[in-house]
């Protein structure tokens, strides 16, 4: 199927894009890489009157070092993030998650900001963004504001980005020297995760000094496994200690039940994947 007809705008600056959004309001939809939006339009699940393509706004692309944070432009393609040496060094968790997102062709088009703005609870980037305590820079008619990861994901496919706003960049605090693993559980190739765990830890002399754990597809938004984080701190990075902490993985979650698995199955999966992810991130396996 092909999309219903729409008018097409391709602004070259964020200001122009905001003006277009302001003018068309509800009737407009932003197009980033199109890897989630085009399937939606083709299935006629949505039929905006105007599509505003951010593809020609070059200032939204690229990754830069900004002292204690990396700044990733919203329109930076997954494949660029995947191979970026700064991301590999300072935000290893993101490199690990992007590597397993979709397939090569989709990663060449889909963007970092587009995936986060889409806020699919099964999307692979929300949990790493939460775990790394990323900050979301959002431009609107009244200027620019910054939203913490904890406040960015509101509900299923819903974020803090207002209808007249655009996500411009994502600031990721550097986690240099932290070990990281993204454990994605799928049954067939290039599928969204049934459950996935994003874990990054700082180990000091065999002891877990700090830990951040994000969960994918364990509720209507990505979630932080704070009980696990608290239980890990000060523990040795051993199988037994990590297993005990991982038992808290499903606390406070509300996993869906669908054809891929019941909620109880997902809760069990989360404990297994948290254990594997933390042990691997700590370099124990």
């Amino acid at each position: 199927m092909i999309p219903a007809p729409f008018d097409y705008l391709a602004p070259t600056t964020v200001e122009e894009a905001l003006a277009a959004l302001g003018q068309h309001g509800d009737d407009a939809k932003i197009l980033a890489g199109g890897q989630s939006l085009l399937p939606v339009l083709r299935m006629r699940l949505n039929a905006p009157e105007v599509v505003i393509d951010l593809g020609k706004i070059h200032s939204l692309r690229g990754i830069r070092d900004d002292g204690d944070a990396l700044v990733i432009g919203a329109m930076t393609q997954h494949s660029v993030v995947e191979h970026d040496p700064l991301v590999a060094e300072h935000a290893t968790l993101i490199s690990k998650a992007v590597e397993h997102l979709a397939d090569h062709q989709i990663r060449h088009r889909g963007t970092f900001g587009g995936a986060l703005a889409h806020a699919d609870p099964a999307g692979d980037l929300g949990a790493p963004a939460l775990a790394l305590e990323a900050q979301f820079v959002i431009a609107g008619p009244a200027g620019t504001r910054t939203v913490a990861a904890d406040d960015f994901f509101v509900d299923l496919f819903e974020t803090a980005i207002g209808e007249d706003e655009i996500l411009t960049e994502i600031r990721v605090p550097k986690h240099t020297g932290w070990g990281a693993t993204y454990e994605k559980f799928v049954r067939v190739a290039h599928q969204w995760p049934i459950v996935a765990v994003a874990a990054t830890v700082r180990v000091e002399g065999g002891t877990i000094a700090e830990a951040r754990i994000g969960l994918t597809n364990m509720g209507s938004t990505p979630l932080r496994a704070r009980a696990v984080e608290a239980a890990l701190v000060g523990q040795p990075a051993t199988e037994d200690a990590v297993r005990a902490a991982a038992a808290h993985a499903a606390e406070g979650t509300n996993p869906p039940s669908d054809l891929n698995g019941e909620a109880a199955y997902r809760a069990h999966l989360a404990t297994v994947l948290v254990r594997r992810a933390v042990l691997s991130a700590a370099g124990t396996t």
Binding site: M1, I2, P3, A4, P5, F6, D7, Y8, A10, L31, G34, Q35, L38, P39, L41, R42, M43, V51, D53, G55, S79, A102, D103, H104, Q105, I106, H108, R109, A189, H190
Partner: protein, 156 residues
């Protein structure tokens, strides 16, 4: 209608298109390049894979207007001066196809894969082709074809 200018298989083209027109439709219906095929409705199968500014994309999941100003290479533009690309030769040599429907996409993705990684392991080939589905071959001879192409210097 929106005006687009792009280069397809080495030729400059310019057209007025409906913004909702998909790149794959543009290639097939406007330019008659039916070598690029449509195998699904969900952007899963990879049969429609082409190169957009040198990297592989699923042309059913790109609007023609998004390709404005870009360079597109389809399976029809891979052969040079009447000589098949090494990856095309290897698919023929190793019998990397049965019905052939997935083949244009498999070959375009394999070319992209070899450009990034000229000497992939078997596992790297399988992962590199994970966005391309084949209903016939069980992938065995496809993987062999890519290994053959790599051995022949197919990355060029």
């Amino acid at each position: 209608m929106t005006r687009i200018n792009l280069t397809v298989d080495g030729s400059k083209v310019s057209d007025d298109v409906e913004p909702r027109m998909l790149l794959v439709q543009y290639l097939r219906e406007k330019l008659g390049k039916t070598g690029t095929v449509i195998g699904c409705d969900t952007s899963n199968c990879g049969a429609c894979t082409v190169h957009l500014d040198g990297t592989s994309v699923k042309s059913c999941n790109v609007l023609a207007v998004q390709a404005d100003g870009s360079e597109v290479t389809t399976i029809e533009g891979l052969a040079q001066d009447g000589e098949l690309h090494q990856v095309q030769k290897s698919f023929r040599e190793c019998h990397g196809l049965q019905c052939g429907f997935c083949t244009p996409g498999m070959i375009m993705q394999s070319v992209d894969l070899l450009k990034e990684n000229p000497h992939p392991t078997e596992q790297e080939i399988r992962v590199g082709l994970e966005g391309n589905l084949c209903r016939c071959t069980g992938y065995h001879n496809i993987v062999k074809s890519v290994q053959h192409a790599a051995a022949q210097g197919g990355a060029q």
